[in-house]
Structures are given as structure tokens and as C-alpha cells.
Symmetry: C2
Subunit: 338 residues, 2 copies
């Protein structure tokens, strides 16, 4: 534990992600050069050796673990993790379970990574339901939304626990000094919501968290709260709604310009502004989303992750290990009256 | 009934909406001039007389009903409707209930209009839960999403009924030839969803509807289905997520341009393209959203409605009356095995 605290052992799923294994290896090399730390690389050993060499690395200096099979985006997550013994994500989770690694990072199938986290890494002490968290970019600061898909159903206590887990992550990994918690709902008034959100709000108000009440979707961009909780079905839909609107808006604007060629010079002039917005809302900056409540650090990156995103995900994993997020989540939950 | 079929009696809530009563009276006058039909105007009679005169109308030719009080955006909808006897929206609903009008149109407090619809107009025969529907603008055709807020909770049968009600509205009022129905969920695969959506999907598949399965938020913009059902909490959150993302994107772009003044000429060049996107996604085009399943036509316009939006809402109400949407919804629901 003392050695681990100095240099966290992180298992990287080299085979997961649209740009894998090139982007994952490149990200691992970049992280090693900037921090002096090497991740445990899990994937097809021959392929990894080749990419390390072409990246100017001595592959003998790296720990390589065999896990050559990738779980595809269209496979059933739980079944695939259960039946594919040599899947890279499963091997990563086994390394965390055995204690050889304290964290895993994957840009692959999100469902498979969640399944590996829950089934193989296992739940942390005191946790009933792990939750997947995502950072929503905001005008001032990003907001952590949890759960965005680990569970299709949740009880009020789960939402309260998501708040506690998110609070620990924000404080320890992102350095938010006094995180405020809210519950995602359809109106700011305390009377608005579903039976689930109304009951969760009562539990949150009675918890040690700084609970600020209901947060509407617009509040996620306004830094109205630092951590906002919801059930995984709702969170996943809201997240997909954000993505869908952004895609629709960009597509409509492209089509409008195409139909009006005389507006094209405007795009050129505005390009630096468009790029700035894109950079501010770029998932790659935030280093992946944590699956909180499992017995190890699990960071899930976007499938489209490039090397920079992989490097940021490794950084987030290292910070989570160093700040003992897993133990702190369990300690926090142990304080709650149940 | 025969007279009504020739000229539907529509009660217009003159006092509701941010730009009321000016925009509502202007919309009523515009509608009268283009169709030769006069809505029943409900509001402060003196104010309405004055606005009609300054609009060049003979106010004696119009039926004016007294209902001078406006229910504010911050009042509790159900309580306000119950306790405010002279509220314009309540008077409109009473006219529908008594049969003096077949439809009501309001740009006021959405919750109050829903409450007046459900409590005073009452549910249509065979309807357990009315549903609020909204048209989402799409790449090819708009998609009707229902329910977006009439009920915070729903059972699978309610979602199935929303599909049937939406199908009738699309076919009769918007002229969609063969509406396809879907259920809003977190993945296209039939196995993905919440217990509610999975059960609703089974009922929809067994219904007379052309059921195309799960629709993700992105599918709402893609014309993947014509009517998409969900519970009111989810629908309201998704709708608010669309609005929040669009607002955030526009705000970020503005800020990015402000920080880079040299990009400003681009905005000028691109203006026609921006305007085209805005026009395509303008709520005013779609003439308000119907509250389906009540015993009369209830059309709820956007609070920001201008005169054009009011005119379009009156048109939608007239088409709904003429095509006997209310009776057809009841007839459709009567065919379902329960």
C-alpha cells in the first residue's frame, strides 16, 4: 500500500476504443514521459510490443499483460464479459481485483467496462449500487452528473449515495473545495418531480451533503450545483439529449451554409470562435468518466478518445488512486444512517 | 354539431403569454382576416375592446367573455385554477365544458392550462391519462413527443395510449399518412430500457400501431418515428435538455466571438444561415402543443408566442376540431384490448 501510494498501478485497456490500439499506446507513452509512470498495458502482446518500439520505447521496460480480444460495441456487455476470458477489459478488471493494479482505464464498450467493474472488480464496502458519473461542461465550472447509465432503475437511497460518491470524487480528484449537491428534476420548486426525486431530495437534505435542491437540465450548464444525481435511465437520456441537440444544431448550420454559399466566408471568419467552443466542450479534456462505488478506480473514456484523452484519463485514474477515492467513498457511506 | 363542423368555436385565452394581450388579439385578428372565422375572446373586456378597435375591428362583431385575471408563471397550477374563478384560462375551459366552444387556445402558464384541461374540460371517454405532446423539429419531418409533462408518473398502458392519441393527432391534424410509433429509450436494442419502457414496448407491439421499437434522443431529430412516447417526467427533462443545450451553445458562441472581435464579421456573413436554422426550429411554426385525451381540443402555445404563433395555434385548434380528433381518440382507445 505504501509503494502503491507513491506510484499507482493502472491497468490500461489497450484494445478498447475507436482509435485503439494506436491512440491508447500513444497516450500511455505520453503519460509515461510527462509523469515518469508506466501503466500496465493489457492487450495483444505482439501488437503492443510493435507499437511501443515504433513509439521509441523499450518494450522490455513495460509490464505487458495478454488480453488480445476486444469486446465490440454491439456485444451484450454482461454476457461478453462473462464469456470472453481473454478480453482486454476483463483482464484489466482481474488485475484490479487481485490487487496487482489499483485502477483500470478503458476507452472501449462502456457497458462492458461497467459490467467488468461491477462483476469482477466488485462493489466497494457499503455500496449498494455503483454509479457512472460524467462531467458536463459549464459556463463557469463543469458539473458532475451521476448516474448516467450504470442502472436502469434506482431507489431514493441510491440517489443519495450517488451524491455522496460524487462529492468525494469532486473534492478529492477535481479539487472542488465545497461541492454542492442537487437532484435532477423538471422544476426548481421543491414540489416538482417524480416520486423518486422527491424522496431522494428528502434523504439528501438529511445527509451531510450541502444540498441545494432541484436542478433543471439548464442548471447543469450554469454551475447551479457541483454534483447532480439521477437514476441511470434518466441520466443516460439527458446526456444523449445534449449530444443529439449539439449534433442536430451543427448539422442544420452546415446544411444552411451549403444552401447559401455566400455565407461560407462567415464560417472562415468565425472559425476561431467555433474552435474555442469546441475546445471548451471537448470530452477529451476531462479525462473520462469514473464508475464510482466499485472496489477500485475505474475510468471510462469516450470511444472516440485520442492520445490526449487517454493521457488525461490516466491522470484522472492516478489522482483517484493517490487521493484514496475508493476508501473515502466507503468511509463516507459508513457515516450515513440507514 | 353540424354548425360547429362548419365553423369551430374556439375560446382564446387573451390574457395568457408574455406578449399578451397585444399578441393574442393581433393573432386573433390575423386569423379572422385570413379564415373569416372569429375566436371567442376571453379576458379583460375593456382591454379587448380597446385593442380590437385600435386593430381596426368592430368589437361588437366579436364574442367577448369576461375573464380578466391572469394566472402567473410562478403560481401553483392546480390551486390557482381551482381558486381563481375569473381566470381567463378557467373561463376558456368552462366554455369548452359547457359545449359553447369545442376548443381552447392558451399561451399562458402551461401547468395551469393542463390543470384547466384535466380538471374542468375533463378526460375524454376511455382516456385514463391525458398527455401533453410537443413537435420536435427534425431533419426531414417533425416528431411528436408525448408526454412532456402532464403526468410525473405513468404505467405502461399510459404510454401505449399516448401512442394511440399521438397517432390520431398526426394523421388528422398534421396529415401524416402512416405514422410510425416508437418508445423513448437509452438504446435502440429491444433489451435496453427501464422496466416501464420495456413493458410499454410489449403493449405497443401488440397494438394496432406501426411500432418501430426504441428511439434514442437523437432519433427524435432523425424522423426515425413519427410519434414517440415516454412518461411526463422523462419527456419534460428531455425537452428541457434540448432547450438548455441550444441556449448553452448559442451563449458560448456569443462569448467566443466577443473575446475574438476579429471573428465578428463572420457572424454578419453567416447571419442568413443562422436565421434559416432559427426559422426551421421555431416553435411558432408548429402552432402550439396539444393536450391530448381531454374532452375537447386544448392547444397550449409557447409563452413567448407572437401574433403569428397565436394564429398558427388557432389554425391547429380549428383543424383538430374539424377532423374530430377528440372523438377519434376515444374511438381508437375503445378498440384496444385492456
Amino acid at each position: 500500500m505504501t509503494a502503491a501510494a507513491e506510484e499507482p498501478a493502472i491497468a490500461l485497456d489497450v484494445m478498447g476504443g475507436d482509435q485503439a490500439p494506436d491512440a491508447t499506446i500513444e497516450g500511455a507513452i505520453g503519460w509515461a514521459r510527462s509523469t515518469g509512470q508506466r501503466a500496465i498495458l493489457v492487450g495483444d502482446v505482439d501488437v503492443m510490443r510493435g507499437l511501443l518500439s515504433s513509439g521509441g520505447e523499450d518494450s522490455a521496460a513495460w509490464r505487458l499483460e495478454s488480453g488480445p480480444t476486444t469486446i465490440g460495441m454491439d456485444e451484450h456487455p454482461v454476457q461478453a464479459v462473462r464469456s470472453t476470458r481473454d478480453a482486454s477489459i476483463r483482464r484489466c478488471a482481474e488485475l484490479v481485483r487481485s490487487g496487482e493494479a489499483q485502477a483500470l482505464v478503458s476507452m472501449g464498450n462502456t457497458g462492458a467496462t461497467m459490467a467488468a467493474g461491477v462483476l469482477i472488480v466488485g462493489r466497494a464496502a457499503g455500496v449498494d449500487r455503483p454509479g457512472l458519473a460524467v462531467l458536463i461542461p459549464g459556463r463557469e465550472a463543469p458539473t458532475l452528473l451521476i448516474d448516467v447509465g450504470a442502472n436502469a432503475e434506482a431507489r431514493p437511497e441510491h440517489l443519495r449515495d450517488f451524491g455522496l460518491m460524487g462529492e468525494v470524487y469532486l473534492r478529492q480528484v477535481l479539487g472542488t473545495p465545497n461541492p454542492r449537491a442537487g437532484v435532477l428534476s423538471i422544476g426548481e420548486e421543491a414540489t416538482k418531480g417524480s416520486p423518486l426525486t422527491l424522496a431522494a431530495a428528502e434523504l439528501l437534505a438529511a445527509s451531510p451533503l450541502d444540498f441545494v435542491g432541484n436542478i433543471e437540465p439548464g442548471g447543469l450548464f450554469n454551475s447551479s450545483a457541483d454534483v447532480v444525481v439521477c437514476d441511470g435511465f434518466t441520466g443516460n437520456l439527458v446526456l444523449k439529449s445534449f449530444e443529439a441537440t449539439a449534433e442536430f444544431a451543427v448539422g442544420e448550420l452546415r446544411a444552411a451554409v451549403r444552401r447559401r454559399p455566400y455565407t461560407l466566408p462567415g464560417v472562415v471568419f468565425m472559425y476561431p470562435a467555433f474552435r474555442a467552443v469546441r475546445r471548451r466542450t471537448d470530452y477529451a479534456q476531462y479525462g473520462g468518466t469514473p464508475l464510482l462505488g466499485v472496489n477500485g478506480v475505474v475510468i471510462i473514456g469516450h470511444g472516440r478518445s485520442n492520445a490526449m484523452a487517454v493521457e488525461n484519463a490516466l491522470n484522472a485514474a492516478a489522482r483517484a488512486v493517490e487521493s484514496r477515492v475508493v476508501e473515502r467513498v466507503s468511509d463516507g457511506l459508513a457515516l450515513i444512517d440507514r
